[in-house]
């Protein structure tokens, strides 16, 4: 893109200066002595520095940035020994970036959700510790030596596998997104939550490692006329879901690995089903049993919940595919732009039916669209990171993203979805999201129409 001459320079006007842009010394001096003419000069210097570089701190007098000219303590001391944290942890400065519950969404902490902080993540892999949580009867930490997988039903030979058996079998690793069918559910009727963490944070991307389900089904000698599979967990609720044999044979895994290590307990340690492209509830955690059958099972989460209510009162049952969707993760709701000039709009796109083909960005609420850059080669049923150059000059803007997938499907506007499905279907809201950038630089969650 062509950047205006001032886009990367200091011509922009500062809207709101956060306190941290002023040096501690200066703040202390001002609060104790007031602002005299010399300090006004310092203050102007501080604001100018804030415009030049995001990380710049106040320039102390004529000596330059104190974080450069006065060597920081980490450059003048001995660091910590190896293995201080045998399992490494993020920096203490990243403490804000955690999973969070949405107040009032659920009344118990076991049948609840903790959302992924999408607003501050990069790339397409979600750190395992930030992978969203959705449990129906709490999470358990299962002793892998006592865990078993049973395959029964319409098979030649019902079988039992130990973890050792499964870890000896041929394994594959594949990157896939995992999205709860209820992701963005709060937004059907109106703008309801302030940030992308709560609006889209039941979403993650991981590399999953395990045994192809098709191989296990062949091992058991499954009935080739069987069209359904029941997957069942080992937790208190022994959650069950019906899987189509088409999905089971195409690319499903019985997975034990996630991002290079064993699954986290919250993600089903030591075994979970991975059914790429399907909503999260189908990826049964703590997987203990697979039953091959000739009819669907109408389990609780496909008969009472995870059924999509249509305006005519009908419930769409066994709706499981996550259709193509995208969202701008930064700038996004609850954030603010401090300066004018260049910004990289970034976000995620994905499709449960294939790969992302193209992402387009609108900054005017959907009237005009331009193509975003995609990071890497989009993979089937996996998150794709997109980036888009944007120069903001203080005008109000309505930011949207729109994905096209490899089947030709295009992400719909919210009004289109509502016209077909009403506002009470809870699940499968893949509408285009709008973030409004105000003239003050504050970003909020809005709907347009």
């Amino acid at each position: 893109m062509e950047l205006p001459s001032d886009a990367l320079g200091g011509q922009g006007r500062l809207r709101q200066a956060p306190e941290s842009f002023l040096s501690h010394e200066l703040v202390t001096a001002i609060s104790s002595d007031g602002v005299n003419s010399e300090r006004r000069g310092l203050l102007r210097g501080a604001l100018a520095a804030a415009l030049v570089a995001t990380s710049a701190r106040a320039i102390a007098g004529d000596g330059g940035d104190p974080d450069i000219v006065r060597l920081p303590e980490w450059s003048r001391s001995l660091g910590k020994p190896v293995a201080s944290n045998p399992y490494g942890q993020p920096s203490i400065y990243e403490a804000n970036i955690v999973r969070r519950q949405s107040p009032g969404l659920t009344q118990t902490d076991q049948a609840s959700v903790a959302f992924t902080p999408l607003q501050n993540l990069f790339g397409s892999i979600t750190p395992s510790g930030l992978h969203f949580e959705r449990h129906h009867q709490g999470w358990v930490d299962i002793d892998p030596r006592r865990h078993r997988l049973m395959i029964n039903g319409l098979v030649a030979q019902p079988l039992v596998f130990t973890l050792e058996d499964l870890l000896r079998m041929p394994s594959v690793s594949r990157m896939h997104f995992l999205e709860c069918g209820a992701n963005t559910a709060q937004e059907w009727g109106n703008s309801a939550v302030p940030t992308v963490q709560y609006s889209h944070g039941m979403l993650s991307g991981s590399e999953w490692t395990g045994v192809p389900l098709s191989l296990l089904l062949e091992r058991a000698g499954y009935d080739r006329t069987a069209a359904y599979l029941l997957a069942e967990g080992a937790d208190g609720s022994s959650m069950t879901r019906t899987i189509s044999m088409e999905s089971a044979l195409e690319d499903a895994l019985v997975a034990y690995g996630q991002n290079g290590e064993m699954l986290r307990p919250e993600q089903g340690y030591p075994l979970r089903l991975v059914v790429p492209g399907l909503q999260g509830v189908s990826w049964v955690k703590w997987l203990r049993r697979l039953e091959v059958g000739d009819k669907p099972y109408a389990t609780k989460d496909e008969a009472s919940h995870y059924v999509d209510l249509m305006p005519n009162g009908q419930l769409r049952q066994y709706a499981a595919i996550q259709e193509a969707k995208s969202v701008i993760t930064a700038p996004s709701g609850g954030q603010k732009l401090l300066k004018h000039g260049y910004y990289c709009i970034t976000g995620l796109a994905w499709s449960g039916r294939g790969a992302v083909r193209k992402v387009e960005i609108s900054v005017d609420g959907g009237r005009n669209w331009r193509e975003a850059r995609l990071e890497g080669s989009p993979q089937s049923k996996m998150l794709t990171r997109f980036n888009f150059d944007w120069v903001w000059q203080g005008e109000s803007a309505l930011l949207q993203s729109r994905v096209h997938d490899s089947t030709g499907y295009i992400q719909p506007q919210r009004a289109q979805l509502v016209a077909a499905r009403g506002t009470r279907s809870i699940y499968h809201n893949n509408a285009i999201q709008t973030w409004r950038v105000g003239e003050t630089g504050e970003v909020d969650n809005v709907q347009v129409g």
């Binding site: 995001t54 400065y93 990243e94 519950q101 107040p103 009032g104 009344q107 118990t108 049948a111 129906h136 009867q137 049973m150 098979v155 030649a156 030979q157 019902p158 079988l159 039992v160 596998f161 079998m169 109106n190 703008s191 309801a192 302030p194 098709s214 091992r219 058991a220 009935d223 022994s238 492209g277 091959v292 009819k295 389990t299 609780k300 008969a303 009472s304 009162g313 419930l315 769409r316 595919i321 930064a330 609850g334 954030q335 603010k336 732009l337 401090l338 449960g352 959907g366 005009n368 669209w369 096209h404 499907y409 295009i410 719909p412 979805l417 009470r424 499968h428 285009i432 409004r436 709907q447």
Partner: protein, 343 residues
């Protein structure tokens, strides 16, 4: 639950020939072992809509009512109508006409609270779920006859059977024919398989597209504030810091990790499975921890409370049964007991 023996024999014959793909490594047959019939009986508990897998048994509405008040009402309300913790199970809104037609008319009304019996089409779903997952704090603890009884009581609350009804494997198919929304489900949609046909597709327009761009919805201040201080939920350096919001003190701030609440050992409570039934400040299924602590303050009750945690109990605070917490190690039990007793 599957038809075990006969089906297995039928497919045994062809299994090693045509079921295997050409690339199947035969050496894999050494991994995994045959499941015994006892193992299958222990785990294969699912019940299908055609009632395949349903074990024989029976239970009366009256018997279910007693069980309900003891083990279920704390969460679901005496009449299955509470929405304090879970969505209501039965709350009216179902008419005799609905039962006749098999379609619940009130599902078309946005103002009506949707209950389990308004939505669920298949009675097997309820039998299966009560059997596998209920009660909340002691799943799979009901006997087969108790599951029939609890379900009979719910059917009575939903006006599907009379109070003197006894539900059994013999008559459950007839009751299915009175499920109010039995004809309310559709599979006419494109979301079952990846090859399904989408019902809504977006526009490819890129220039001067005819879309409305006026704001139809935004978050009022109270809604911006309802999720706590957003500034503390974003990276606090870089191009996009969070907006400082002013959370209402009364609304719960969103919790990340174990949270902090006074001196409560919340992490231990959370990891030990306590907070499924207890909360610190208000009673849930069981009493509030604050109430327990108040009662036992200064009474040197650690040993007594440790015993209660280990062995469970009933009747001290109400009818709800506290299951034994024998999975906890002695150190955790004592830590909890000491905290509860103030010792």
């Amino acid at each position: 639950m599957s038809r075990l023996v006969s089906v297995s024999l039928v497919f045994l014959a062809c299994a090693s020939l045509d079921v295997r793909g050409a690339n199947y490594p035969a050496a894999l047959d050494a991994l995994g072992r045959p499941a015994t019939s006892e193992e299958i009986r222990a785990w294969d508990i699912d019940v299908r809509p055609d009632f395949q897998g349903l074990p024989p048994g029976s239970g009366s509405v009256a018997g279910g009512e007693t069980l309900w008040l003891e083990r279920c009402a704390n969460c679901h309300g005496d009449f299955g109508d509470s929405n304090a913790f879970f969505t209501p199970i039965a709350l009216g809104n179902v008419t005799e006409e609905d039962i006749e037609s098999g379609r619940v008319a009130a599902l078309r009304d946005p103002a009506v609270v949707r209950t389990t019996f308004m939505k669920v089409a298949t009675l097997s779903t309820l039998w299966d779920y009560i059997n596998r997952a209920m009660p909340w704090n002691a799943p799979k603890s009901l006997t087969t006859d108790e599951v029939y009884a609890v379900l009979a009581y719910l059917l009575n609350l939903a006006y599907i059977v009379d109070y003197d009804f006894v539900l059994s494997n013999d008559n459950i198919s007839e009751v299915q024919q009175r499920m109010p929304n039995r004809n309310g489900m559709t599979r006419e949609h494109g979301l079952w398989t990846a090859s399904g046909r989408p019902d809504v597709i977006g526009s490819a327009c890129v220039t001067d597209c005819a879309v409305g761009t006026s704001i139809t919805s935004y978050l009022p201040d109270y809604a911006m504030d309802a999720h706590g201080n957003l500034q503390e939920q974003m990276r606090d350096y870089g191009p996009f810091p969070g907006i400082q919001t002013e959370p209402d003190k009364a609304s719960a701030a969103p919790r990340g990790g174990s949270g902090e609440e006074g001196d409560a050992p919340l992490l231990l409570l959370s990891q030990s499975g306590c907070i499924g039934c207890h909360q610190v400040g208000k009673s849930l299924v069981g009493p509030a921890f604050d109430d327990i602590r108040e009662r036992y303050a200064g009474r040197k009750a650690s040993a007594y409370l440790a015993e209660k945690i280990r062995e469970g109990g009933q009747g001290v605070w109400g009818n709800a049964v506290m299951p034994p917490m024998r999975q906890l190690d002695a150190k955790a039990v004592m830590a909890l007991a000491n905290w509860l007793s103030g010792q």
